[in-house]
């Protein structure tokens, strides 16, 4: 887990601020393009070319290749935009939550339900 610091004081949390927005601009711009079904198809048909056309840096490209949400966040991704990327694979927010916390989806769902008791 990243070490909390003055700018990012909440453990396990990357607040999407100006620094993250600059770092993740190309990645988030590509994810924003996935609002359009034709762009989602183009990504699926040729991922390499699609990522290249948005100028992803090597860290972003690798995180996309790995389908790894924590890596995508470290590379500047914003949750709302990354959700559009996840949508291409039919993943919902509980799939994403499970992946980030190292739990199975059932375990993650149980954790959420437990918060209500």
């Amino acid at each position: 887990m990243p070490t909390p610091n003055a700018r990012q004081p909440v453990p396990g949390t990357t607040i999407f601020d100006g620094e993250q927005a600059r770092k993740g601009y190309a990645l988030n711009k590509m994810c924003y393009s996935f609002n359009d079904a034709a762009n989602r198809r183009a990504f699926v048909e040729n991922e390499e070319a699609y990522c290249a056309s948005y100028g992803l840096n090597p860290e972003q490209r690798q995180a996309i290749r790995n389908r790894n949400v924590l890596q995508l966040i470290r590379a500047g991704g914003n949750a709302y935009y990354l959700a559009k990327f996840a949508g291409i694979f039919g993943l919902d927010m509980q799939d994403i939550g499970a992946q980030q916390t190292g739990l199975t989806k059932d375990q993650f769902r149980a954790k959420l339900a437990a918060a209500g008791r």
Partner: protein, 279 residues
């Protein structure tokens, strides 16, 4: 003058749209959430609003990070929904009220709120799903004014600033010469966090205290910075800023008409409140 007859504040997660599309309103997982809404619809039938001012945050449909206004007000004759990338069905367009929008804009800028004005604007699930929960037949009986708050890219406006924006919207509506009945909706929250190792964070104690503050102590949350609100309610729980705007449009004294709270829907603690001005 136009009258604010009340506020509706509610969560807005996309999965609600999926549940509606699949007809899961009576499913054991979803029922405790959807059961909160018949009393809201009965209340709407009673107060008969002409206009809904919807305070929400865009999630990357109308605005991208190339231009990110802190506060934006719609001034279009019509607002359309569109594909957000994950396949929830789109809903029919909403009628705008450009005259009232421009009056609100004039009044807010006159009070030194520097806005972005939008004569074309698509509205995402944070706008459409609360409307669909209030009008499940998707026949909107009201005109709409969207007010979009940046809860996406820091620095975010403070809870205090959002509350004061709401107060200014309240004054703007009160000074409109028409006789419209207005409901202000605030959407988002309550506690949830989608991203990071802390994903799945929910804080029931904070949410219940926040909902309680909406009734008798509306400025309570203004004591917190937005970073503190992230710590208390999660990275997306900070959408409660939209509730602060809505609450600011009502006088200090309000009557609670209805409330519901349920954990979880998707990754989110869902909150719902209907408040009316009192005296």
């Amino acid at each position: 003058m136009a009258t604010i007859v009340g506020t509706i504040t509610t969560s807005h997660v996309p999965a609600i749209g999926g549940a509606i599309a699949k007809g899961l309103q009576g499913d054991p997982y979803w029922k405790p959430f959807f059961d909160g809404f018949p009393p809201v619809r009965e209340w709407l039938a009673r107060v008969k609003p002409d206009v809904i001012v919807v305070v929400y945050n865009d999630h990357g449909l109308n605005f991208f990070l190339d231009k990110m206004p802190t506060f934006a007000v719609g001034a279009a004759p019509e607002y359309r929904n569109a594909d957000e990338g994950w396949g929830i069905p789109t809903v029919p367009p909403f009628q705008g009220d450009p005259e009232l929008s421009w009056h609100i804009i004039d009044s807010l800028v006159g009070e030194e709120f520097d806005l972005t004005t939008c004569q074309e604007m698509v509205v995402d699930h944070a706008f459409t799903l609360p409307m669909a929960l209030c009008w499940p037949d998707l026949k909107w009986l009201v005109r709409t004014v969207p007010v979009c708050v940046n809860t996406v890219q820091g620095p975010l406006p403070s809870a205090a600033r959002c509350y004061r924006l709401g107060q200014a919207i309240g004054r703007a509506i009160a000074s409109w010469p028409g006789d419209e009945r207005v409901v202000v909706m605030g959407t988002g929250g309550l506690s949830h966090q989608l991203d990071g190792e802390r994903a799945g964070f929910i804080n029931k104690d904070f949410d219940l205290q926040f909902m309680d503050s909406m009734i008798g102590n509306p400025a309570w949350a203004t004591r917190y910075s937005t970073t503190e609100l992230v710590e208390l309610s999660g990275t997306q729980g900070v959408e409660l800023l939209n509730w602060m705007v809505a609450r600011g449009t009502l006088p200090e004294r309000v009557r609670k008409q209805h409330a519901n709270y349920h954990i979880p829907i998707s990754n989110t603690a869902s909150g719902l409140m209907v408040l009316e001005p009192q005296g």
